[in-house]
């Protein structure tokens, strides 16, 4: 491992991370969106990325899921390099994502959306998984045949998460799950995140609502203009004065 940039001090971690980014640089056209991002997620953790709009949180997730290819640097899943794989291969390896803005298939029914989530698991029985999703999100069961685009924002978010869970991911990437949701719904969603994590799914969570995110996470990274400027346990971060000022709306 050769890190070219001085790395932010990280808490000690066991060898063999589930997901690891090493010195990743990514560009949109000529705009450098990620500058030497290195981070890791261990099995069973909830890790959150916080930062302001445009800081590169979503870009980091896009890089992990293979939608955006890093120009340099590595992304490894269970030690296997995935940064050059096409997105659909990465899904098969167990990385599922509920993207920012939900992006459910709005012209398909709820049920079909869930089937799409399990697309990579060709030929397997899906009944158990669907039951699990309906168990987590009873609202979706009620709206099983409804066209997804006609549901409310909260329901769509549930669907997006349910859809991602259908892939039986080893790591679930959640991008701004609380966006546009009322406080009550936001809280519900975060409760569910905890629950999902309790059931054994590792979660990488990107959230603007930093406080809520740090509440459910074990660890966190703070991104700013494409760089990781801070990382610590969630509790420490929540207590950090700088973080509170910059991202928790405290003045």
């Amino acid at each position: 491992m050769t890190a070219t940039e001085p790395r932010v001090e990280q808490p000690a971690a066991p060898q063999g991370h589930l997901l690891e980014l090493e010195n990743v640089n990514a560009y949109y056209g000529n705009i450098r969106a990620l500058r030497g991002v290195s981070l890791y997620v261990d099995k069973g953790e909830v890790v959150t990325l916080i930062g302001s709009n445009g800081a590169g949180k979503s870009t980091t997730l896009r890089t992990i899921s293979g939608v955006l290819k890093p120009r340099t640097g590595q992304v490894r899943l269970d030690g296997l390099r995935i940064d050059a794989l096409p997105a659909h291969e990465i899904v098969k390896l167990g990385v599922a994502q509920a993207p920012e803005g939900r992006r459910i298939f709005s012209r398909m029914s709820v049920y079909e959306n869930l089937l799409m989530g399990a697309f990579s698991r060709r030929g397997e029985k899906l009944d158990d998984d669907i039951a699990r999703v309906f168990d987590l999100f009873p609202r979706l069961l009620e709206r099983r045949t409804q066209q997804a685009g006609t549901m409310s924002g909260g329901e769509q978010q549930m669907l997006a998460m349910g859809r991602a869970l259908m892939a039986r991911p080893s790591i679930l990437l959640l991008d701004e799950p609380s966006m546009g949701l009322s406080p009550i719904l936001t809280e519900q969603i975060f409760d569910i995140i905890t629950e999902i994590n309790g059931q054994g799914t590792t979660v990488l969570l990107v959230e603007q609502n930093a406080l809520m995110a740090l509440n459910v996470a074990h660890r966190g990274y703070v991104l700013q203009t494409g760089k990781i400027i801070l990382t610590d346990t969630a509790a420490n971060l929540a207590a950090n004065e700088q973080v509170r000022q910059a991202y928790l709306g405290e003045i």
Binding site: P86, F105, L115, M116, R122
Partner: protein, 348 residues
Amino acid sequence: MRLRLPERLSFVDLILWGLRVAIVVFVLVGSYATLSQGVLGFDGWRTLLIVGVAQGSIYALIALGYTLVYGVLFMINFAHGEVFMAGVFTAFFAATALADSGILNGNPLFGLAIIFAVSMVTSMVVAVILERVAYRPLRRAPRLVPLITAIGASLFLQYTFRSLYGSGVRSYPTIEILTGTFDIAGVPIQKTQVVVIVSAILLMVGLYFFVQRTRTGRAMRAVSEDKDVAAMMGINVDRVISTTFAIGGLLAGAAGILYVFLFNSVSFSMGFLPGIKAFTAAVLGGIGNIVGAMLGGLFLGVLESIGPFLFLDGLGVPSTNQLRDVVAFTLLVLVLIFRPYGILGRKE
């Protein structure tokens, strides 16, 4: 103070309103005049209707190719008419060989199956190669670029086949089981017309169920809605796009043979006009919408068949039939101007 600026009714609006009014008046007055002259009896109109439906079924089948491709790539595959031509032009040689060896009329179902297979597979291969070579490298390019490529591909295919197979018009051998008429409710209808309409409907229904019910169909719909997310679901977007072109090609190939049932002749340039017409049909029904493409095709077929005579003859316009394409293209222009998302399409 509430002051509305006078610019609100622009020059463009004026022209558009003028156009609307003119067309409506034209159509109404023309239709009234034609009908009141009573030149064509009930049987005549019925014949026109059947002719229109048969022609329209073919437009609809080709239109499905436009709609499918538009659905996943949001581009007009200008060369789709040539995909249609490629299949049926190639199948001509199979058909002649079969006819010469007596299989075509000795064992017609087998012979037809081979002809359909040759045509459909050829069209499919052409469509897939087209996508791979001409469109895939350009998916991220500005809109104008793949569109120009598509126009180039249309010309290139047309004249490649002209150079390969010759420029003459070739006529298919007679398929005896398709000659003559069926009596349907006392009305004699050409067998070919019945076969064309029925097969077109079967193919379209088949496609509908394929897209709605199968895994690949769902993947196509997913890609159509959101490519990035589809990839996140584990869908190989490139493969799905290839599949979409392949299906569009298969349908175009089938449409080609049905076209031959009706018109019996093939040439290198046969794809261009039906292609544009089918595109019109696809737009008419709301591009990207499968049911819309079917209905749009039928509507256009009937309008082309009935429209020129109905709207124009009563006004004393000579040679109304010559203006058939004018009617079709005017419809295209009107639909795109006033309802660009089509009759069944939704506003984006």
